[in-house]
């Protein structure tokens, strides 16, 4: 049952990404491009997605246990660290280059053609090498 609920959440997520227009790279790049014909869509997507989730965090705090058992995620780590900043900068650069982030890239795999496929293969390769990069960064010197 856990897997069925998971698939249902995935389906709603995928439909939302498609309907919102976030699988259209011109809308994402159009939002990032404040000097061009600015497209506000992404702000509406982010804003309207945060609202139900903010309610869900409140409910989770009151419930203490998820509906099908187990545990809720721990409180967020307070430390920022260079991996968070460096990783986000690298991610943002790739996001701006192609207009794709992980969610929309995965959803559009069935209609994104060769471009979508090449992006996904490169993204998987990046994810596969990330643990090596992570341990190199950790070995550099103690994080401030």
């Amino acid at each position: 049952m856990r897997n069925l609920y998971s698939a249902a959440a995935g389906a709603v997520f995928g439909i939302g990404l498609w309907l919102s227009g976030m699988t259209d790279t011109t809308k994402v790049i159009g939002w990032l491009d404040i000097f061009g014909d600015w497209d506000p869509t992404l702000a509406f997507v982010m804003g309207s997605a945060i609202v139900p989730m903010a309610v869900a965090w409140r409910v989770a705090a009151a419930r203490r246990v998820p509906v099908i058992g187990g545990a809720f995620p721990p409180a967020p780590e307070p430390k920022l660290g260079r991996k968070l900043v460096l990783g986000s900068v690298l991610f943002g650069a790739g996001w701006g280059l192609a207009g794709l982030c992980p969610g929309p890239a995965i959803v559009s795999i069935t209609w994104g053609g060769v471009s979508g496929f090449v992006f996904i293969v490169a993204m998987l390769a990046g994810m596969w090498t990330a643990p090596v990069v992570r341990s190199r960064l950790d070995a550099l010197e103690p994080a401030v």
């Binding site: 897997n3 998971s6 698939a7 959440a9 995935g10 389906a11 709603v12 997520f13 995928g14 439909i15 939302g16 309907l19 919102s20 227009g21 790279t25 809308k27 790049i29 990032l32 491009d33 497209d39 869509t41 997507v45 982010m46 309207s48 997605a49 139900p52 989730m53 903010a54 869900a56 989770a60 419930r63 998820p66 187990g70 967020p76 920022l80 968070l84 900043v85 986000s88 900068v89 991610f91 943002g92 790739g94 701006g96 992980p102 969610g103 890239a105 959803v107 209609w111 471009s115 090449v118 992006f119 490169a122 993204m123 998987l124 990046g126 994810m127 090498t129 990330a130 643990p131 992570r134």
Partner: protein, 141 residues
Amino acid sequence: MHVEWIWGLAGGTLIGLAAAMFLLVNGKIMGASGILGELVDGSAGSSRYEKLSFLAGMIGVPAVLVWLSGGAETHATGNILILLAAGLLVGVGTRLANGCTSGHGVCGISRLSLRGIVATVFYILAGGLTVVLFRHVLGWV
């Protein structure tokens, strides 16, 4: 003038509801890069079927709906080098930062996580600068 923001509002609400479902029912944070990345580097462990099921629903259901609606376009660049560089950056970056637009953006900001807010500020700044550089300065994309 872009009027598609209404779809943004509707789709965004669905994205938020999906994240709420995944948290309240499964007890997990809905982050696309974490779900995929932990399957790729093998750190998913016993949650791998839960993650694979999520991906199956996420790909399968929209695939059918898009097909029924007559197809969709990503309008992605055809430049292989840019796609490869972008994919690598997104893959490494999201795993180093431990989250992307869904994990840090939607799930992090909604619980006022400082890490989520800082990550979102940095990837939006980097994305904006990249578009300015490549589109307006270099004129490549």
